[in-house]
Symmetry: C2
Subunit: 423 residues, 2 copies
């Protein structure tokens, strides 16, 4: 048996999971079914919450105290990697977590990174921090990379049914990382020749998705200008055997809308400007403004002005049926509307119930919506919105009945009752 795995199984040493967010927490639970785990997060409030919420198990310990990690021999770093305001990589969490591990690092320990990073980041940024411990890579410790492939809000794809890519800094590490993930994941585990390949592969997956959505957004804008119904075009194109049925839409969140910036950053650092990827990112980021420009143009034809208008927006998250607002482009859309001095209120029962992240955006409880609005924007396809029905929205609108149904949730036969616009 692989020596590192033997420590976990025979000697009952613990696996540390650093960062207990949407990646680390499900991993902690899954790993705890096989091994002793210590969940670590610097957020004391979260640790307190988790201590209340977590199912009692002698295998799980959660803590914000670094010293507790000294009982561990494997460390899995699952901290978020977002972008800064200038869209360059924000590696602060990764740097901090690597520094924490360096403090408690012992000989023969294994550090696994699950955080998404640009190719070369683990070797150029993380390993030098770990080596500040005085220990040397491969000689004293091993680094692995196993990019997370969590799909937020998808109940069908659970962590243990998702195929994974893994890599390591040496052959024994490759052996360990394969056997370790294989021990709690039933799907395929693919070992790449080195860490850079695994880092690059994760970038490629999400960049491909971002670009394909950006094409749909570009097409939607072109067809809008040509008075062609995008939905009908995509329905027709989808009858071809090799067509990929994407839809136009707002691209937010912590993966698709972030990873291409990481790849752009790395490529630019070696003097190459990737024009296709950059163009895709640009149009996806431009979309909220395009929608506001459409609203303004339509308002003008009705002698309406955005200034002082009352607008109701349904949905604030970056994806349907989750409470995650990270990089939500609905927030950008609302900011653009507010710049035009519109009064904007938001209905999002999922955000309201589960967290208080609403910040400066005025939220209305879905049961308390009343009044007459100049515009309703349906921005997110939460299931709860699907059941409201077209009459509900019709009755909220003034005589112009302007409805921006960005996710096309109103059935086609009722759209004629509205001044209807969709992507």
């Amino acid at each position: 048996m692989n020596q590192a795995l033997e420590k976990l199984i025979v000697h009952q040493s613990s696996v540390a999971v650093l960062g207990l967010g949407y990646v680390g927490l499900p991993l902690l639970m899954e790993v705890s079914k096989k091994y002793k785990v210590v969940g670590f997060d610097t957020n004391d409030g979260l640790i307190a919450q988790l201590k209340d919420r977590l199912i009692e198990s002698e295998n799980i310990l959660v803590t914000s105290e670094l010293e507790v990690l000294r009982s561990c021999t494997v460390y899995i770093i699952c901290v978020p990697t977002d972008v800064l305001a200038d869209k360059s990589p924000d590696l602060s969490n990764l740097v901090e977590a690597s520094g924490s591990v360096a403090e408690v690092l012992k000989y023969d320990d294994i550090i696994i990174y699950e955080s998404t990073v640009y190719p070369g980041c683990t070797e150029e940024v993380c390993i030098p921090i770990l080596e500040k411990s005085g220990k040397k890579l491969n000689q004293d410790f091993t680094v692995c990379y196993a990019p997370e492939r969590i799909v937020p809000g998808d109940n069908k794809l659970s962590l243990n049914s998702i195929s994974r890519i893994v890599a390591a800094s040496n052959d024994k590490g490759s052996e360990f990382i394969y056997q370790f993930y294989k021990s709690f994941i039933t799907a395929d585990i693919h070992v790449t020749p080195n860490i850079k390949v695994a880092e690059a592969a994760k970038m490629v997956e999400n960049t491909q998705r971002d670009l394909n959505i950006s094409l749909m957004n570009e097409l939607a804008i072109i067809f809008d200008k040509l008075n062609i119904d995008t939905e009908s075009v995509l329905e027709a194109a989808s009858t071809k055997w090799n067509f990929h049925p994407y839809q136009p839409g707002l691209v937010g969140g912590h993966c698709i809308s972030v990873d291409p910036f990481y790849l752009l950053h790395k490529s630019r650092s070696v003097g190459h400007e990737p024009k296709v990827i950059a163009a895709g990112r640009a149009i996806n980021d431009y979309l909220p403004l395009y929608i506001v420009e459409k609203i303004e143009a339509l308002f003008l034809t009705k002698n309406k002005s955005l200034k002082g208008s009352h607008i109701l927006v349904y949905g604030l998250t970056f994806k349907e049926n989750i409470d995650d607002m990270r990089n939500s482009k609905v927030v950008d859309l609302i900011a653009h509307l507010k710049n035009k001095e519109a009064h904007v209120e938001v209905v999002d029962p999922i955000v309201q119930i589960r967290n208080d992240a609403s910040g400066k955006i005025p939220m209305i409880d879905i049961s308390k919506v009343k009044g007459t609005f100049d515009l309703v924007v349906i921005a997110v396809k939460h299931n709860i919105f699907l059941s409201l029905g077209h009459e509900y929205f019709y009755n909220l609108l003034d005589e112009h009945k302007i409805l921006f149904d960005l996710k096309r949730i109103i059935p086609i036969e009722h759209r004629g009752k509205f001044e209807y616009w969709a992507l």
Copy 2:
């Protein structure tokens, strides 16, 4: 029964197919199994060839005389739509064919366009030409659009097994076009609400493919600069359930490399610059020059110069196992090499045997290849090249053994014997 279909079936009137190339000829054969057909082409040489080659059938007549088309009530236009040197649409064949039909047009005739065009082209360009006959659309004649979806060189996807999109200028036309194609195609026939939607859908299908390949090319260039093996990255990314496994490569031919230019043209005509699509096209067109730059850089490290070097290129077509050289990027690659004063010779048994389109590029018979070359470029994955084996290529090269294997046909275990480069 639909009146127009009744004419074909009961009154034995003929279907005309205009343009007998890779789209028109298979269609002629398929339609002839059900209806009388007249194949028309302005190329007398082609007509003479076809008269010799075609299987005798009382249902088929081929001609270059327009007058013969007067016996027809349905006209299917299958002429090529390429781009001019400035990449704007070359509609000359379409204009000419529409003018021909206008000369013989009778009341209640139906004109079907299969040629790929930008959205709006049929209504803005073709129909006005047909109306020069003095007859009026919908009142006197009907126009349909049914974009071809032929896959050159694919034996599995025959014309009658490929699902199709159809559209017409009026409801009776929609009924006819659905029933007519359904009568000889077993796959699904999808009727779009209008002609523009069907034109747009065809653009979208090929533009999506072009863009996805352009992303792979952009990634290959980035990873090349970062010393990361693109093949390993794409292999790893392909283990994700929703990844689309494209490969980097030269994009030529009459569809993928042309259609995005049609969409760009139309979009620009209404004042909108599609940056994603344009960036994708640009990188795919840049690739031959990038490869030549790579060759030059590698030559430099060996104290070699492209000037006066002897280079052997395997494959000249835009796709494997066909003799079609239209918009082949291998031709561009060779032109760039010749600009650098390299001596380039080409081996392509498929082009040599089947046509004489080789023009100014010196071709060598595959059985007569001899000598020692500074570089071999394997540019096309013809089956005949796969069986040559790595030793064959090894023995053709000088001591530097520089092999550019653009389609990665050399097995991975033999690549180390060469100074090997692949996309």
